[in-house]
Symmetry: C2
Subunit: 349 residues, 2 copies
DNA sequence: GTGAAAGCGCTAACAT
DNA sequence: ATGTTAGCGCTTTCAC
């Protein structure tokens, strides 16, 4: 309670220079004499002075704040991503203002408006879709948006995803080559591009291998719905139930494995092969050993930050979409086809 | 790219009123005539005007930003907490600026300084300890700090934790009553108050039950160290290894269960009982069914937000410490003593 | 009830 | 190289 706010004026007074001299000392690349700088720094240290970021932002227009909106952190993949995003941005001198939103249209729009109120320099939308008029408003005020782990055909926003289509296709080839005859799919939330692309790729791959989809259920990226989906698909006599299932993300895949083994008494992978998508930490735990497609969070984060900074630095730059390859990580939850190339990727993220 | 920034002056011009009239319309409780208000709102809507939060913050001194520093999100408990914290604060009109820090002294101090630069109204430190001179500086600039899931004897900061001591004690009673004779402990990071308090309570409880600690190892809340700890403790003939272990948090407990079962071929709870702390989502998964103490994230978040707002609203208010009771959730990883009261808590968070 | 005027703490010309 | 001046977009007296 001693000093409360110390301003550049206080420092200037103590150092016996003008207020703008102080400002220059704290502005990288501004012209200051060695001697002045020294005196100012000394005074500043004495007073515990630090520039007010907000005041600086007001005049410069640069807040160094990036707004991040997330819809749900249930999926272990998102906390990880958030952490890395925050670190990467911090390293570039930016900071993350977090906004949680349910994935409803009104909520997203409302929250986005709030983000904009903070004069953020950029926006990252993780697992959130954007109505096109909101995208338009961001564009109007010149705030770049990048979609993380979600894609939209909207040409005005950048997006970074895994190559979900290729991933789905690879799983289909893998399962078909493994000699499975009743291959099924558990879908995620149908509003998500990840769900759509993974399924599209999977079906395409099945077709290429001359297989039909044996069965399909919807887990919606939701715990309860996923349990129901697993029961509907598997609570049947052997010849009527799938012998392989591709689950749209790991979060659901782990739940499915639990039900298969502990509720239905099925052996995985003996009686059914399970493949997921994401490679969350739990997938590697010994109790699961889930074969899955790895989302390379580090690469995705790098790409996201790069896309955002590109547009911040050059507002004219065109948005673009990045797709990061998702390698298949072979573990123990799915039968490996004879002769299938053993992964040469080390089993760590 | 049409309108770029719309300011209150633009709105004022369109509405044919003064700029201050516009300001008043957007200031709850300011005196404005119905008619003026209507015209201003109409003009504002037309232009898509929204007050600039930062400019407002400059003059009012209220940024409505809360800085949150987190050290590691490995532990599933923290993402959950962050999500709830963000939601609760949003509901109060505040927003969260996230800072990641490694838990080293220099890093914490540096990051804290950055937080302060943003003129935050309050700071939440999750799983981070604070040097007392930094605490002093926060006090000096009048920014309240609350420690989340960490306690410090420092009387200048509030803290919210589970009742870790009581929790540890309960586990000791539970394990002793279960007839275990070689009870051991796997410690978390020794710098953490959670670790210290849980262990202290555990040992006290053991003493009360006339037991000695059979063995102790340190997992440090770290994956690799935890594996080593599990091997050191359990890779031994039956009579030389523990028949029960209390692990300082679930994150480590799940790793320990994996090693016990899949590396050492031990039956849990047949040959060894495992109890954790936190009740992270994974603890309830069927593959683990971990008996654990539940940290009630919702209550902890409520208390944290309340403590923070108390101090923001009344800067003179004294900091205080809150301890939330942590109920023992009985699942399948530990033998239940005959006659032990069955939990009447429903098995959901 | 409303407008004019004075800043909040800072940066960025513009002089000197 | 340094001081002076003019704002950034807003809230808040202060007169009217």
């Amino acid at each position: 309670m001693i000093d409360r706010k110390v301003t550049s004026t206080h420092v200037a007074a103590l150092a016996g220079v003008s207020q703008s001299a102080v400002s220059r000392v704290f502005t990288p690349g501004a012209p200051v004499a060695k001697a002045t700088e020294a005196r100012v720094r000394k005074a500043a240290a004495e007073l515990g002075y630090r520039p007010n970021v907000l005041a600086r932002a007001m005049v410069s227009g640069k807040t160094r704040i990036i707004g991040v909106m997330m819809a749900y952190l249930d999926n272990q993949f998102y906390p990880t991503a958030l952490e890395k995003l925050s670190e990467a941005l911090q390293a570039q001198g930016y900071h993350v203002l977090v906004f949680m939103a349910s994935n409803t249209r009104e909520d997203v729009d409302g929250v986005l408006q709030q983000i904009l109120d903070y004069q953020v320099e950029g926006i990252i939308l993780a697992s959130v879709s954007l109505s096109s008029d909101v995208a338009a408003r961001c564009r109007a005020v010149g705030v770049p948006v990048v979609l993380f782990n979600r894609h939209q055909d909207d040409k005005t926003v950048s997006s970074v995803t895994s190559d979900n289509r290729a991933g789905g296709r690879e799983v289909a080839r893998f399962l078909a080559a493994g000699g499975h005859t009743r291959i099924s799919y558990i879908a995620g939330w149908e509003g998500a591009s990840t769900q759509r692309d993974r399924e599209a790729g999977f079906c395409a791959g099945l077709a290429e291998a001359d297989r039909d989809l044996f069965a399909r259920a919807v887990g919606g990226y939701d715990n309860a719905a996923t349990k129901v989906a697993a029961f509907t698909l598997f609570n049947k006599p052997e010849d009527q139930r799938p012998d392989a299932v591709f689950v749209a993300n790991d979060h659901m895949a782990l739940i499915v494995m639990d039900i298969l083994r502990f509720e239905l008494g099925l052996d995985v992978p003996g009686e059914v092969s399970v493949v997921g998508f994401d490679d969350v930490p739990g997938a590697a735990w010994l109790a699961y050993q889930l074969t899955t497609l790895r989302q390379r969070a580090n690469r995705m984060v790098e790409a996201t930050v790069a896309a955002l900074l590109d547009q911040i630095e050059d507002p004219g730059a065109a948005p673009y979409a990045v797709r990061v390859a998702a390698p298949l990580i072979l573990r123990k939850s799915a039968r490996v086809p004879a002769g299938w190339p053993q992964s040469n990727k080390r089993d760590i993220p």
